[in-house]
Structure formats: structure tokens, C-alpha cells
């Protein structure tokens, strides 16, 4: 057999049936793009190998293990607390006889719209040693309040801003719950609690678990909160090591963090939540089946209190700074400039544009081809999505210094990082709309003599445009509020809204951050609206 024949056969096998040269080309392109996105992560291993024998020594050093244990503990506590908050809220809003259930549902989901580092920032300035609360209590002779910094504070803030994941997934499961089963149990004289425990809970458990895993991933990867709250977990420790020029150690810790992330992901795929039926009710819901009577107002204290802490408090604090000025003098060099907003928008537009260009072939290949390679190309980018931002940033810094110094700390490198992190959001929304395209229309166009490309331009593209637009919007909005990669990869002197907030926080000049913080809250709210609108389709 000739080599050419061998190659042709192998490619044919890898790309599925003989679906024409264009499909093969598309699939190969998708695979190549996916490979480029994941490649720099390998550089962490190169760095860690550079440590030689010390790698193992450092990997099991007491300090490293402490960080590992603390990180896992934080993740466990935040996940557990999110379940304790999110599940009752879901039950109350879905099954409870409460007034304005729609309002309470949106309210309970809303903390997701505030980046947790802004929440941490607000809490530190409210309850910190020189914060507003301390100022209020000082005249009363109260000298010191429990420190907001540290493990407990970080766990509290993270729970406050991540429980909506559990809330939303549990809510979806409750909505698709077959109500007749519960009724059957009740007629068989099972108590309300027994019915919940034996019928409802097993059915909604996958939903709860899916949300819990999202929380776990978020808590593990979150960079801003542990840094602001000064908790030595992976992300904080890696950043500190990197800044203290223990670069190899930072790379090693990044690999460990990736491993823990992979374990969480593996757990998720093992549980294999079936989301397909999540939004379509198979049973009848009927009316609210949790009669609360006069308790209804008491249970509403929970979402009300949470909304107050998670949303009203930060916005109130930022608003106060805006009108009255906050702590810290008007520092020169740290005066807010709208140029930072322009920089944020500039890189976010680039990231959205590139993400769409990159996501289109991958999404089309995965929606139209059933080859293994196309599936792989569709999966691979999600590695970037699951990679904690700090880990990606360190990998890219190291990679660019060693391999491509020309792009070290440049806007293209920064945009690349955004694309790696957020492009999967675009793939998702493009794929959804591609799958909805009626293939008969495409075939009709081909029969009428249009070329493949012509068909794509005239038929497919107009139909998937809403999905493309939504994907671009999502990437744009999430890029605007991205913290770790922006902080570490930006060129010297390139300030964005996020880096400005970060520097102001570090310098303790909180008052300066009012405008950018409020802008970011608004942007985050928008991104959530886009996501919910997509779900609603």
C-alpha cells in the first residue's frame, strides 16, 4: 500500500464517512484550531520538568499540601453551603405558594450577575478594619469587629455569589418533576417530608449535583476573592509565588490545580447529568403544591436577606463612593479615566470577533459531521474553558517568553487568552442554532445549483445569525469582567476597568473604584440577561 493511500484511509476513518473534501477540510481546520488553543497549557509541564528532582520535593512540601487541603476545604464548604441555600430557594420558588414567584426567582438568580471579586471588594470595604461598619461602631465604643479577612470570609462571599448555580439547576429539575408521582405517594399516606425525601429528592438529585459541580469549579478557579480576602488557596498562592519569582513553583502548583479541576470534571461526567429533559415538563406541575400558609412571608426572608447582602449592599457601597467619595485621597496616577473603559471594550470586541471566527468552523463541523475528529475538536476547547484563568495566564507567559517573545505581554496574547477561555460559549450558541437549521433548505439550495459556500452564505448563515450574535455578545461581556488573565498578560501601561479596580483595591483607595465597579455590575447583569434569553429560546 502506498503511503498516500494509507494517509487517505486514515484520514477517511478519522473524519467519518466520505463526506466530501470540504467536510474533511472543515474538520481538519476545526481540529487544528482546537490543538492551537490547548497547546500552551503543555508548557506548564515543561516548566515543572525544569525543576527536576525538586519538583517532587515541592509537590509534597508541607506548604504545598497545606494549600491543597485549604483549597479543597474551601471548595467543599462553599459547595455544601451553596446546596443548603440553593435547594430550599428552588423549592420555595417552584413549589411554594408565594406571592410574585417570578420576581423571587429572578432575585434569587441575580447574585450570579455580580463578579465575586466585586462582592469581596465591597465586603472588605464594608466590614474591614477601616470599613464603613467599623466607622459606624467606633462612636459606640466598639473597638474591633471580627475580621472579614480569611477563610470564613472568603467562603461566605463565594457562597453568596455561586449558590445561584445550584438554584438554577435544581429549579430546572423541579420544573420537569413528574408531579403525579408525588401525589401518588401522598395518597398512600406518606408524609410531606417522606414524599420529598423518597420521591422528589431522587429525581432532582442530578440537577443539584450538576449545580454543585459548577460551584465547585468556580470556587476552585476563582482568583479575585481569595486574593482580596487573603486566603492562601491555590489561585492566591500561585499568584504570590509568581510575583515572588518562584515561577517554576507556580507552574507546578498550576499543574496541581489543573489536576484537581480535572478530578471535579471527571466526577461531573461520571454523574452524567441528562440535561435534555431539564426544561420540558414531563409531568404536570399543576398549582403550587407546597402550602405554606402564613409561613409564606417567613420563608421569603431567606431570598430577601440574601439579595440584600449580595446585590443591594455592594451597589449601595459603590453608589456611596460615587456620591460621597470613599476612603483614600484623590491619588494621582490612580485617577479614573474613561480610557480604561475604552481599553476594556477594545480587547473585548477583538475577543468576540476572533472567537466567532474560530468557533464557526468548529461548531459547523461538530453539527454536520459525526466523525470522531469533529467530536474531539468540539470537546477540546472546553479544556480551555475549564482551565482556571490564573493557570492559563502563567502558561501563556511562560510559553511566550520561551517560544514567541514577540507576543509576550501584547494585546494579541491577551486576546488569545480570552478566546481560549470564552470561545466555547460561542461554540455552544452557534451549535444550538446550527442544529435547528432545516437540512432540507440546505439540500434544496444545493439542488438548485448553488455551491456549498454559496449555500452557506445565502441559507445557513442568515438562519444561524442570532446564535452567532448571542455567542459574540457572551464572549464580549465575559471578557469585560475577566480578571486574572487581564491582570497578568496586559502590556505595561494598558489599564482596563478590571485592572484599575484591582490596583485601587490594592492601594486601599476604594473610593476611586465606584464608577468602574458599577459599570462592571451593569455589564455582568447584561451578560446574564443574554444567557437567560438563550435558555428561554
Amino acid at each position: 500500500m502506498t503511503i498516500r493511500g494509507l494517509v487517505a484511509r486514515t484520514v477517511g476513518r478519522a473524519t467519518g464517512d466520505d463526506s466530501g473534501a470540504t467536510d474533511v477540510g472543515l474538520t481538519l481546520l476545526a481540529a487544528a484550531i482546537a490543538a492551537v488553543l490547548v497547546l500552551p497549557l503543555l508548557w506548564l509541564a515543561v516548566d515543572a520538568v525544569g525543576l527536576g528532582d525538586r519538583a517532587l520535593e515541592l509537590a509534597v512540601a508541607p506548604q504545598t499540601l497545606e494549600v491543597l487541603v485549604r483549597s479543597v476545604a474551601l471548595v467543599a464548604i462553599v459547595t455544601g453551603a451553596s446546596v443548603l441555600v440553593g435547594v430550599p430557594l428552588a423549592v420555595i420558588t417552584v413549589q411554594g405558594s408565594i406571592p410574585f414567584p417570578r420576581f423571587w426567582t429572578v432575585l434569587a438568580a441575580l447574585p450570579l450577575a455580580v463578579p465575586s471579586y466585586l462582592g469581596a471588594f465591597a465586603f472588605v470595604s464594608a466590614f474591614g478594619p477601616q470599613g464603613e461598619l467599623a466607622d459606624l461602631l467606633a462612636p459606640l465604643g466598639i473597638e474591633s469587629i471580627p475580621s472579614v479577612y480569611g477563610f470564613a470570609g472568603a467562603a461566605f462571599v463565594l457562597t453568596l455569589y455561586t449558590y445561584p448555580y445550584v438554584f438554577l439547576t435544581t429549579r430546572a429539575s423541579l420544573l420537569s418533576l413528574d408531579g403525579s408521582l408525588v401525589e401518588a405517594a401522598r395518597t398512600l399516606n406518606a408524609g410531606r417530608w417522606t414524599a420529598f425525601r423518597r420521591i422528589t429528592l431522587p429525581q432532582i438529585l442530578p440537577g443539584i449535583t450538576a449545580g454543585a459541580l459548577l460551584v465547585a469549579l468556580y470556587a476552585l478557579a476563582d482568583f479575585g476573592t481569595p486574593n482580596i480576602m487573603r486566603v492562601e488557596v491555590f489561585t492566591q498562592f500561585i499568584y504570590a509565588r509568581y510575583n515572588a519569582f518562584a515561577r517554576d513553583y507556580a507552574a507546578l502548583l498550576s499543574l496541581q490545580l489543573l489536576t484537581v479541576t480535572a478530578i471535579v470534571l471527571a466526577l461531573e461526567s461520571r454523574i452524567g447529568v441528562d440535561e435534555s429533559g431539564a426544561y420540558e415538563s414531563s409531568g404536570h406541575r399543576g398549582n403550587a403544591d407546597l402550602e405554606l400558609g402564613s409561613w409564606r412571608y417567613v420563608v421569603l426572608l431567606l431570598p430577601a436577606a440574601i439579595a440584600l447582602l449580595a446585590i443591594v449592599l455592594p451597589i449601595a457601597i459603590f453608589g456611596t463612593w460615587l456620591t460621597a467619595g470613599g476612603p483614600g485621597y484623590q491619588g494621582g496616577g490612580l485617577t479614573f479615566s474613561w480610557e480604561y473603559g475604552f481599553n476594556s471594550a477594545y480587547v473585548a470586541v477583538l475577543a468576540a470577533g476572533v472567537s466567532i471566527l474560530v468557533a464557526l468552523p468548529i461548531a459547523l463541523a461538530s453539527a454536520t459531521s459525526d466523525s470522531r475528529l469533529a467530536a474531539l475538536a468540539d470537546r477540546a476547547p472546553y479544556i480551555g474553558y475549564a482551565t482556571p484563568g490564573i493557570v492559563l495566564a502563567i502558561a501563556l507567559l511562560s510559553f511566550s517568553l520561551d517560544v514567541l517573545p514577540a507576543i509576550y505581554k501584547t494585546v494579541p496574547l491577551l486576546v488569545f487568552a480570552y478566546v481560549v477561555r470564552f470561545m466555547p460559549q460561542a461554540i455552544g450558541s452557534i451549535k444550538t442554532s446550527t442544529l435547528q437549521v432545516d437540512q432540507e433548505l440546505v439540500e434544496a439550495s444545493r439542488t438548485l445549483g448553488r455551491s456549498r459556500l454559496g449555500t452557506f452564505r445565502k441559507v445557513t448563515l442568515p438562519l444561524i445569525l442570532p446564535g452567532v450574535a448571542a455567542g459574540a455578545a457572551l464572549v464580549f461581556l465575559t471578557t469585560m469582567k475577566e480578571l486574572p488573565a487581564t491582570l497578568m498578560l496586559r502590556p505595561l501601561g494598558f489599564e482596563t476597568l478590571v485592572t484599575y479596580i484591582w490596583e485601587v483595591e490594592e492601594a486601599g483607595l476604594y473610593g476611586q473604584a465606584a464608577v468602574p465597579a458599577l459599570v462592571l455590575v451593569a455589564i455582568s447583569g447584561l451578560s446574564m440577561a443574554v444567557m437567560l434569553a438563550q435558555d428561554g429560546r
Partner: protein
Amino acid sequence: MNNDRDDSGTRVLSRRSALQAGSALGVASLAGCLGLFDNGQNVEIPSLSEFRGSGALVEGRPAPGGTSIEELPDLSGDLALYIGGGEGGIYYDFVEMLQNIYPDFTVHSNSNSSSSLAQTIVEEVDAGATQADVFWSIDASSLGFVAENDAYEPLSDAATGPVGNSQFVGDDSAWAGIAGRARAVPYNTNELSASDIPSTVQEFPETSALQGTMGWAPTYGAFKSFVTAMRLIEGEDAARQWLVDMQEAGTERRGNEFAVSQAVADGALTAGFANHYYAMRVKNGRPDAPVDLAFTEGDAGALINVAGALKVKGTQQGELVDNFVRHLLSAEAQEFFATVSFAYPMISGVAPVGGLPTIDELSPPDIDLAELSNLEPTLDLMDDAGVSG
């Protein structure tokens, strides 16, 4: 944050706000000149008082000698600065003032610990991805590290020329000292007189006047440099033994050297180990405080370390860097460092505050300051001695 943060966070807000206001408004002053310069910048130089700190030690100082900013070529263009965190941001305040004086001059800065920035510079230069034009470090060991790794370009003679003492210019003009700080022994003048303080720290443990009455701050970077110097001069065993002996003599720990100097002024301690300017800060706020400084001779206790500036290899802005360094060594800048951070000026025209001996009257040990960057063995021997840093 910064490991070598040099300030306990006590900031004189009024002074800073005054500086801000003064420099931002570009107060028209007697010294300020309104003219059109070659590059068309509308340059106004604030009056000398804008460059001065305030307080008891600063009043009645003579006008500084040296080259005024007025006589220097204008700064214009973009300058990428790596600035070693420290001095509570005081150094950067001066950079702000320069940007206010020259509208066409913009500084992009990155702040981190000096040692980390030094390593970053070497890494970036090696990779051919130079980011910074100039490195302003708070200690000589970081400058030495960059110089040894050949990641610098020599400064011009005009830039290094003003530095009065050749010890504070790197070999091959790799860096120029900008502001100095000396290790000193603050002592309580009600309890001791200068003659009670031995001339070397080695004699301290057996000096009866100092038993159970001294204080130090082992977590502080400058203290670790001091122990490192002792290790280099006397050897590891002697340094470890000295720490043990001082411990046994009842030396008390404090959180930082400002706290040591405060405690000495309050009489809670009779003497201590600290950088010279902390006692100056105490005295500036409390002119009657019974605290004065003694200096040892030729040993680790007499170490003088400098903050300095270095031109990074591969910069496209070499001329601007030279010019920037000349501004840092101008009469106004040196007066600023002397009166705001109480540092030792590097030019002979400016005297240190508070009647301190001039820098050439001190007798620092004869060591290469760059060697102070080797901290690992120091930390080990401090741990062994039970004085953890």
C-alpha cells in the same frame, strides 16, 4: 503585596494632599518659569516648598545645592518604569510630580518587590522581550543582580555624574544611587549617651548597659540584609552566635523598625536596630522625643544600602532614561527624598535632615552590596538561631 514594603503605612495625608494639589495645579511660583521650550511643552516648575516634606526637621533648611530641574533638558515621551515597591509609594509620588511638570511626559509603571522585578527584567531581556526602559529599585542587591546578568546598558556620564560617592555607582555605570539608607542604632537619650554604644554590633551582647533593653524587627527586609552582611563579613557561625547571644541578652521583637524606633523614643526600649530614617520620622512628629542615632563602624551594623536606577538592556528610550535619572539626582529631587522619606541624599549639595552625619562621614563595611541578594542561607541561620524572619 510587597515583601520589602518600607513603610508602616503611616502616611501624612495632609502633606500628600498638599503635594497633590500643589503639583496638580502647577502652582505658579517664583522658581517656576513660563516659557515655550524647544518641544513646545508648557513647563512650570513648582516652588521648592512643593518638593519639601513638612515637620520639625524640615523647617529652616538651606536651599539645596546641585543642578535644578530648570537647568535640565525637558522630559517628553513614554517611559516604562519597573519600580520596586517600598517607601510607601513615596518614590512614585515624585514620578507623579515629574509628569505634572512635563505634560508630554508619561510614565507607565509596574510595581512589585525589587527582587522579583530584578529577576523579571533578566528573564525578559534574555528572551528578547524587554518591557521596561528603566528599573528603579529600593536596594542595591537587585540592581547588582541585573548588572551581573548583563541586562543593563551603561548610564551616561551626565546621569551618574552628580552622585557624590563612587561607591554608589555600579561598575560600568550600570546603575546610579538615588537615595541612601543607613543601618543605625536608635537609643533613648534619657537612658544612654552616645558613648555607651559600642562601635561594633559584635560587642553589644556583652555590653551591660544594653542587657534586656534592646529591640529588633527580624521580619523586616533591611534587618535580613543586615544579618546577611554580618554573615558575609564574620562568617555564618559568628552571625548565628550573635543572634543567639542577643536573644539571650533579652532583645525584644517588634513588628517593624518604625515600632522599634517609637518604643525607643517612648522609653519602652533603651536602644534598637533600625534603618536611620525611622527615628527621623519619630522626631519629625515629636521634636522633643528623647531619641537619637548612633552608628557603628565598618561592620554589618554600619551597612548603607541605596535605592538606585538602572537602564534596561534593549530599551528604545536610552536618552530619556539618562535624562530621567538626571532628574532624580536634581537638587529638587534630592531635597524631596531627604525631607519626605528622610533618605540620605546622593549629591553633596543636599544635606541629610536632622543633623545626621553626612554620608561620607559614615564608615560602611567594605562589601559588594549585590551579594546581599543571597538570602537563603541567612534565613536558614536565623531559623537555626530561633530568630525567624
